[in-house]
C-alpha cells in the first residue's frame, strides 16, 4: 500500500520550509523530503536574512531564531588593484527591537525552521533523495519516487523546492538546462575570529553587524560581485561570477576567492581568522526572462528552482520563503474549496506571485542581467577609472582643482568614449527603472 499525503514538499531550504510550515500549521498532512544529512547540510547562503518574509510566516521568530548580528551598516565598495572607493550607510535607527536584516549562518536557520515544521505536525524525512516525479496516464503528477527502498509516495500535490539545479523539473521536461549566462557560481568561506576583533575592526557593539558588498577588479573583468559579512564569532567572505564568464576565463573560483582574501583592503579585516569551511553553490541570476513554467497538473515549483532571485539586490531567501508560502496558501485554498489540483486551478499560485514583490521586482530588473552580461566595462574599466579619479582628487600635490577635474574627465573618456559613458548611464537607468 503506497502512502498518501495532502502534499509532498521536496527540499528543506527556505522555500520548502516556508511551504511545509504553512501547510502543516493549517492541519494538512505534509511530507517534506530532504537529501541532506540534516536540513541545511547542502545549502549555502551569504548570508543576509530579511525579516519581513519570515515574520509573515512565523511572526514571533525573533524569540528563538538563531540569527547572528542585526545589520546597522551597509557598505558598497568598488575595489581597484590596491584601493577601494565606496559608500557606507550606518544608522542607529537600525538598532530597533525588530530589526529588518540579520546576518545568519545558514545551517542553523534551516535546522531551526525544520523544528518548527515538526512541531506544527509536518513529517520531515532527511537523507532521502527524490529521484523522479510519478505521473499518471494523463501526465498529472501524483507523487514521487525516492532512493529509499520501496520509496514510492503519493500526494494530491507536489511542491518542488529543490533549489537551483532543479533536476526533477528538468527530468520531467518542465525546465531546460540552465544557460551559463543565467547562473552564477559563488564560493565562500567562513572564518572564525575573536568577536572583540570584529567589534574593533568594524566599530560595533553587542550584536550590531556590518555587511560589505564588493565589486571591481577582484572579479577580474567578469560579471560578478563579492561580499564580506560579520557574524557573531565569524566572518563570511565570498565571491561569485557568471558561469559563462568562468567558462571563458582561466581563473578557477577558489583562486579568485584567495586573491580577494589577500587584497590589501580586505586582508587587514580578516587577519588572524581561522577558516572552518569552504562552500560553493550556484545562484540563478537570469531574472524575469529566465523564470520557467511555475505550475502544472499536480505540481508547483518555488524558490531557486523557479529562478526567483533578485541579483541586483542580493535577495534570494526572501523570494524563496514568499513563493513557498504562496504555493502553500494556494494548496490550502483549493483544499478548503474541495477543488482538484489541476493546472487551471494552480494558476492561482502564479497570480499570487504576479501580485507580489517577487514578480514585480523581477520584472522591474528584467533587462539588467543582459546589460551586465554584454557590457563588461562595468566590471573592468570602471573600477580602475573611478579609483584612479579618487586617487587623483585626494592627492594634495599643488595641481589646481580645475586641472584635476579635467584630468579625471579625460581619464574617463579615454577608457570609454563620451557616448559610451552616456550610453552606459542610460542603459543602467533603463535597466533599473
Amino acid at each position: 500500500m503506497v502512502e498518501k499525503f495532502d502534499a509532498i514538499v521536496i527540499g528543506a531550504g527556505p522555500s520548502g520550509n516556508a511551504a511545509a510550515y504553512t501547510l502543516a500549521k493549517q492541519g494538512l498532512s505534509v511530507l517534506q523530503l530532504e537529501r541532506g544529512e540534516y536540513p541545511g547540510a547542502k545549502n549555502v547562503q551569504g548570508g543576509i536574512m530579511y525579516a519581513a518574509e519570515l515574520e509573515k510566516i512565523i511572526p514571533d521568530f525573533r524569540d528563538d531564531c538563531p540569527t547572528e548580528r542585526h545589520i546597522i551598516e551597509q557598505r558598497i565598495w568598488l575595489l581597484g588593484d590596491d584601493n577601494y572607493i565606496g559608500t557606507n550607510y550606518r544608522s542607529d535607527a537600525f538598532n530597533t527591537e525588530t530589526p529588518n536584516r540579520y546576518t545568519i549562518i545558514r545551517a542553523n536557520i534551516d535546522k531551526w525552521f525544520s523544528e518548527k515544521i515538526r512541531a506544527a505536525g509536518g513529517l520531515q524525512i532527511c537523507e532521502t533523495t527524490v529521484t523522479e516525479l510519478i505521473h499518471d496516464a494523463a501526465g498529472k503528477v501524483i507523487g514521487v519516487r525516492t532512493d529509499r527502498e520501496g520509496g514510492e509516495i503519493h500526494a494530491d500535490v507536489v511542491i518542488m523546492a529543490d533549489g537551483v539545479n532543479a533536476l526533477l523539473a528538468k527530468r520531467s521536461g518542465y525546465q531546460k538546462e540552465l544557460a551559463p549566462e543565467n547562473v552564477a557560481l559563488a564560493v565562500k568561506e567562513i572564518l572564525f575570529i575573536d568577536p572583540e576583533l570584529i567589534q574593533q575592526r568594524f566599530g560595533l557593539k553587542g550584536d550590531e553587524g556590518v555587511v560589505i558588498e564588493i565589486m571591481g577588479k577582484v572579479t577580474k573583468g567578469m560579471v560578478g560581485t563579492a561580499f564580506l559579512y560579520t557574524n557573531k564569532e565569524s566572518l563570511t567572505i565570498g565571491i561569485g561570477c557568471l558561469i559563462s564568464d568562468f567558462k571563458q576565463g582561466s581563473v578557477p573560483p577558489y583562486k579568485m576567492l584567495e586573491d580577494l582574501k589577500n587584497h590589501p583592503v580586505i586582508k587587514p579585516l580578516i587577519e588572524g581568522a581561522e577558516m572552518k569551511e569552504y562552500a560553493a553553490h550556484m545562484i540563478p541570476e537570469g531574472g524575469y526572462k529566465a523564470v520557467p513554467q511555475l505550475y502544472g497538473d499536480g505540481w508547483m515549483v518555488v524558490g531557486d528552482a523557479a529562478h526567483f532571485n533578485n541579483a541586483a539586490h542580493r535577495e534570494g531567501s526572501n523570494l524563496a520563503m514568499a513563493s513557498g508560502r504562496m504555493a502553500a496558501e494556494t494548496v490550502i485554498e483549493l483544499k478548503t474549496a474541495g477543488k482538484p489540483f489541476s493546472a487551471a486551478n494552480l494558476a492561482a499560485y502564479k497570480a499570487r506571485l504576479d501580485d507580489s514583490f517577487v514578480m514585480k521586482d523581477l520584472k522591474k530588473y528584467r533587462n539588467l542581467p543582459g546589460i551586465m552580461h554584454e557590457n563588461k566595462q562595468f566590471f573592468g574599466a570602471y573600477p580602475d577609472t573611478l579609483t584612479a579619479a579618487a586617487h587623483n582628487w585626494f592627492t594634495v600635490d599643488s595641481v589646481d582643482k580645475r586641472t584635476k577635474e579635467k584630468e579625471i574627465m579625460k581619464s574617463f573618456v579615454k577608457k570609454r568614449s563620451v557616448l559610451g559613458l552616456v550610453g552606459d548611464a542610460i542603459k543602467l537607468v533603463r535597466a533599473v527603472r
Binding site: R35, G36, E37, Y38, G40, A41, K42, N43, V44, Q45, I105, R106, A107, N108, D110, C126, E127, T128, T129, T146, D147, R148, V164, N165, L167, E177, L178, P180, V183, L185, V187, E189, I190, S234, I243, F246, K247, Q248, G249, S250, V251, P252, P253, Y254, K255, E258, D259, N262, M275, K276, E277, Y278, A279, A280, H281, M282
Partner: protein, 97 residues
Amino acid sequence: MSIVVKIEEKLYQNRYIVDESRPHIRIRSEAECKSCTSQACTVCCPAACYSKNEAGTVTLVTDGCLECGTCRVICQDKENIQWDYPRGGYGISYKFG
C-alpha cells in the same frame, strides 16, 4: 599578485560522507574530452575535481565535490557529463553553509 592556492587545504576543512565507489558524476566519453578545446571543467569546478591528464583527456575524482552543478552547466553542449546527486545522506555535509 601571485598567490598559490591549495584547494586540498580548503576541502580538508569540510565534512564529507563518502559513498565508496559510487561516484554521482561520470564523464560519458573520454574521446569527447580529448577533442574538447576548452576543457573548461578543469577551470570552473570549485573543488578542482577535474584535472587534465597525460592522455590529453580529463580525470574526474568526485571525492571533494560540492554538488554545485557547474560542470553540468558548462558541459551541456557536449552533454558529456552524467550528473546526479549522491544517494540521500551522502556527499558534502555543510556545518555552516
